[in-house]
Structure formats: structure tokens, C-alpha cells
């Protein structure tokens, strides 16, 4: 058993060890411990305010941990500069900025390029492929401000892809976007699976979590359960996580909240 645990640890790309996090004195995540193996795809499920976005912000270094450790490839968070990519729920950027779709996706290469190197042939090729993969090739030279919400979301997914991350975090990529963007995002997940990229996706869609993901993290400030969907998404556990906000209709769970409000953001990067 010890042997097996050790093997699992070696394979783990992402290791969260007794992590506490929150804003100011307000603790949002309490004592999270879990490991995601190489290439694992995890649906992070929980009600609004469960700390899904907070977890992602911690993993990507936007919010410091209050206690505990995070290891990526066995090294502490921050030792790798470019292997975690993050797609926020709604890009908090100035949409009037004079950048085209291609410019935004190219920013995904900047982490690898360093400050002074100009993008080369290979970078342009990768950017073109990522743009193509998300079906926005026709918009490549458009300013991002002229795009629809779904198209903007795809551009940010393309940028995350261009980062060639080992770990990709997507915050509610299926919320508030058109059906075709949802479809594109799901195809992207399959493609990433083939490439062995570890993916964490937050969603409130229990059925999608059950059907499309091999691992589910049921979260409500603490970990309620973590494992394969059949083990995690049981009526009892869903009730524990969601409280009264869940209905069971013929065995299918329906959550009584569709569009999560913008999570209060105490983080001011632009100061």
C-alpha cells in the first residue's frame, strides 16, 4: 500500500497539501488535500461561494495560501513560470485595448519567450494552430473589442492553449456562452486529454461533470468528496455540498442556481 501511494505521488502533477486560503480574515478554503495524477481531468463542482474560483486563483498564484503547500511536479508553486495556464470566468480586461485576436493569443507565448526575445516562426505557427483549433481563424485580425462574448471566451481558451501548459485551469467555461462555444470547449478537453495535459474545470453542471470527467472534486469550502463521478456524485454527498439547493428528478440531480453571480474580487492586480 505504501508502495502504491509512492507511485501515485510520483505521477501526481499537482499536489495540494492541507491548503487554507481566503480574503483578509475571511477564510474560504479550509484544509484542502488532494492530488491530481498526470493528465487527469477533474471537474470541480460545488455551489456558489464554495471556493471554486478561489481554488483556481490560489493554484495560479493570484492569491497566496494562508497555510499549507502546493506542489507542481514535486516543486513548490512558483518554481515553474509557465506550466500553469488559467482561463478566468470572464476575462477581466479592457476590451477597448488596441489588440487583435492574434495579439492576445500571442501573449500566451510571452511566458516562454522571456522579456526580450521576439516571437519566432514556431510561435506564430503555434498561435495560428491554437486560433484554428478554437474556430476563430476568421477573426484573427479583428480587435478583441469587436467580438461576441462567446468568441472572446474562445480567444482566451486559445491563449491558454498557446501557453502549452502542463496544467490548465478553466473557471466555468460552459457558463454564459453559446452552444457552439460549449461544444468547442468540450472538444478541446478531449484534445488536451490526448496530449496528457492535466485539466481542472469548475462547473455547476452535475450531469456534465458525471459524463465528461474521470474525476470529480465536490467542494464546499472543504472537500466533500474526491474521486470517480460514480463514487463522488451520490445523492447523499450532493445534498451535503449543495444543501437545499438541489432537486432529484428521476434520479437526475438538478441544481437550483444557473448563473453564478460574479464572485467578489478583493484582488487588485492593477494597482
Amino acid at each position: 500500500m505504501d508502495e502504491l501511494n509512492k507511485m501515485f505521488e510520483n505521477l501526481a502533477r499537482l499536489e495540494i497539501d492541507h491548503v487554507y486560503a481566503g480574503y483578509g480574515n475571511n477564510l474560504i478554503l479550509e484544509d484542502l488535500t488532494f492530488q491530481v495524477p498526470h493528465g487527469g481531468q477533474v471537474a470541480v463542482v460545488g455551489p456558489n461561494g464554495a471556493g471554486k474560483s478561489t481554488l483556481f486563483k490560489v493554484l495560479v498564484g493570484l492569491l497566496p495560501v494562508k497555510k499549507g503547500n502546493i506542489f507542481i511536479h514535486g516543486l513548490p508553486l512558483g518554481a515553474h513560470q509557465d506550466c500553469v495556464a488559467y482561463v478566468p470566468q470572464r476575462g477581466d480586461v479592457d476590451w477597448k485595448f488596441p489588440v487583435t485576436v492574434r495579439d492576445v493569443v500571442m501573449m500566451g507565448r510571452y511566458g516562454r519567450l522571456g522579456w526580450l526575445t521576439r516571437p519566432g516562426e514556431k510561435d506564430h505557427q503555434i498561435v495560428a494552430e491554437c486560433i484554428h483549433q478554437l474556430g476563430v481563424s476568421k477573426l484573427a485580425n479583428q480587435p478583441i473589442g469587436e467580438l461576441s462574448g462567446g468568441q472572446q471566451q474562445r480567444v482566451f481558451l486559445a491563449r491558454a492553449l498557446a501557453q502549452q501548459p502542463h496544467i490548465l485551469l478553466m473557471d466555468e467555461p460552459f457558463t454564459g456562452v453559446d452552444i457552439s462555444t460549449q461544444e468547442v470547449a468540450l472538444n478541446l478537453l478531449e484534445e488536451l486529454h490526448k496530449q496528457g495535459v492535466t485539466v481542472l474545470v469548475s462547473t455547476h453542471d452535475l450531469n456534465m461533470a458525471a459524463e465528461r470527467f474521470e474525476l470529480v472534486l465536490l467542494l464546499n469550502r472543504k472537500i466533500i468528496a474526491f474521486g470517480p463521478p460514480t463514487e463522488v456524485l451520490t445523492p447523499e454527498r450532493i445534498k451535503i455540498a449543495f444543501g437545499g439547493k438541489v432537486l432529484f428528478i428521476h434520479g437526475a440531480a438538478v441544481v437550483d442556481e444557473c448563473c453564478p453571480p460574479e464572485e467578489q474580487d478583493n484582488f487588485g492586480a492593477r494597482s
Partner: protein
């Protein structure tokens, strides 16, 4: 016609003035792109006013006025950043407090010096025809530093301005880069004081980039067009000043404003007229 353009340049003071005006035009217009895109216009104006005590102290100590101005600009700029980061004071409030305090200190110091009146009007309104060759060399040196930094650090500065969240995930030193941008802005403002003076520096930082924004869709071309507009305004403004005896700073700023109005009305895609035409096309189907 050629004679009309060349004859002013036979004076050495006009040659130096023209060189300084062109450098200031380029510098303000390029750095101004960040000022416009990051909504820092008030900050730029404040730093320009905050220079006054630095100049006054340098004058009292018999030191170099430009160095005094530079130190005051950097101190106030970083001070505003520091106050804002504490989280208790909003940025525009911090700017309002610090810049008026600095201005008041400057006025207080200057009121103790009786012979200062002439130099003071140069600081307030610029005196491009009084640019000495020493001033010009300092301007050239600072221009190389500022433009070099903007070009070399194009990528990190673009990311911290456009998407601070990406900047944080890429582990860019955001605070350091913001302070660096602040210092570049301070350099630019001090250089620009010679041509347009305290009162009109903000115009040179904002008007050419705002015009270029209406004409372009990407960052690098915006900076390039902005620089062209800055050069054109400076040169035309200086000739207007020479032939019609108008204050040089005012002539330069009014030329830039005229170009902005043209772009605002006629810019393809973003101008008022083009957007009206687009709307009526949509309405008619």
C-alpha cells in the same frame, strides 16, 4: 515656400528648439499611449504640477533645475503608487492630495524668492526658444533611455497594462514594472516642460495617442502613428509660433488638438461620421 520653412532654421536657437520639440513630440506621444490606455491622464497632469517644489528647491540650492524637477516628479509618482497600494485611499484621491500638496509647497517656496518671476513663467508655459545646448543633450540622453525601455520592455508592459491577471500567472514583477512606467512618465514630463510647460504637458501626453487610437487597431502601430502626430504637431506649432508670435507650447498643443478633431470626425471605422454612416446602412438593411 521652402524659404519660409528654412529661414527660421538659420538661427541656432531655432535649430535647438526644433530638435527639442521633435524629441518631446516623439517621447510624449509614445509614453502617452500607456497614459491613454491605462487612464493615467490625471496622474500625468499631477506629476507635471508636482515638479514645482523640486525646481524651487534646486533654484534655492543653486543646483540644476532639471535634476530638481526630475527628483520631484519621481518622488511624487512613486508616492501616489505607495498611498494607493495601502488600500485605504483611492488612486484619484491620492493623486489629488499629493499633487496639490507638492504644488502648494512649490508656491510657498517660490513666494520667498523675489527674483524668480521670469524663470517661473518658463516653467509654467515652456520656453522652447530658450533651450540651451546642455538642455538639448540632456533631452537626447533621457529620450534614448525612455524610448529604449519602451521598445525593450514592450511585451511585459503590454501584458501588465492589458491583462494584470495573465501578468500575475506569468509571474511578472507587476509592482516593479508599474513603478518603472511611472519613472519613464516622470522623465518624459520633465523633458516636455521645456517645450510646453507644466500647464500643457498633459495635452502632449494625451492628445496624439488619443488621435492615433482612432486610426489604428494594434499597439505598435498606435505608438508609431502617435509619434508621427507628435512630431507633426511640434514642427507645425513651432513654425506658427515663429511667424505669428504665439506662445510655442500653446501653438503645438492647438495643432495636436486640431488633428484630434479631424480624426474624431473622419477616422475610418471609429470616427463619428463613419459610425453614423455605418448605423444608417444597418438601419436601411
Amino acid at each position: 515656400m521652402i524659404d519660409l520653412l528654412l529661414s527660421p532654421l538659420s538661427y541656432a536657437f531655432m535649430q535647438r528648439g526644433m530638435a527639442a520639440a521633435i524629441l518631446v513630440g516623439i517621447l510624449c506621444s509614445v509614453v502617452g499611449c500607456y497614459v491613454v490606455l491605462r487612464s493615467m491622464a490625471f496622474l500625468g497632469d499631477a506629476v507635471a504640477h508636482a515638479i514645482l517644489p523640486g525646481v524651487a528647491i534646486a533654484y534655492l540650492l543653486d543646483g540644476n533645475l532639471t535634476v530638481g524637477a526630475l527628483l520631484a516628479a519621481i518622488l511624487v509618482g512613486l508616492g501616489i503608487g505607495f498611498l494607493t497600494r495601502q488600500g485605504n485611499v483611492k488612486e484619484d484621491t491620492a493623486i489629488g492630495i499629493l499633487f496639490t500638496a507638492a504644488l502648494a509647497l512649490g508656491v510657498a517656496l517660490i513666494s520667498t524668492i523675489r527674483t524668480y518671476a521670469v524663470d517661473l513663467s518658463h516653467i509654467l508655459f515652456g520656453n522652447i526658444l530658450g533651450v540651451s545646448s546642455g538642455d538639448l543633450w540632456l533631452t537626447i540622453g533621457l529620450s534614448v533611455i525612455v524610448l529604449g525601455s519602451v521598445i525593450l520592455l514592450f511585451k511585459p508592459l503590454l501584458i501588465i497594462s492589458f491583462d494584470p491577471v495573465l501578468a500575475a500567472t506569468l509571474r511578472l514583477p507587476i509592482g516593479l514594472l508599474n513603478n518603472l512606467l511611472m519613472i519613464l512618465l516622470a522623465f518624459t514630463i520633465v523633458i516636455a516642460l521645456q517645450t510646453v510647460g507644466i500647464g500643457l504637458v498633459a495635452a502632449m501626453l494625451v492628445t496624439p495617442p488619443a488621435t492615433a487610437y482612432l486610426l489604428t487597431r494594434r499597439m505598435a502601430p498606435m505608438m508609431f502613428f502617435s509619434a508621427l502626430i507628435g512630431i507633426f504637431s511640434s514642427v507645425v506649432g513651432l513654425y506658427l509660433s515663429f511667424y505669428y508670435n504665439i506662445a510655442s507650447g500653446a501653438a503645438i498643443v492647438l495643432t495636436a488638438t486640431f488633428l484630434f478633431v479631424l480624426a474624431f470626425l473622419f477616422a475610418p471605422g471609429r470616427g463619428v461620421i463613419s459610425q453614423k454612416a455605418h448605423k444608417s446602412r444597418v438601419l436601411r438593411g
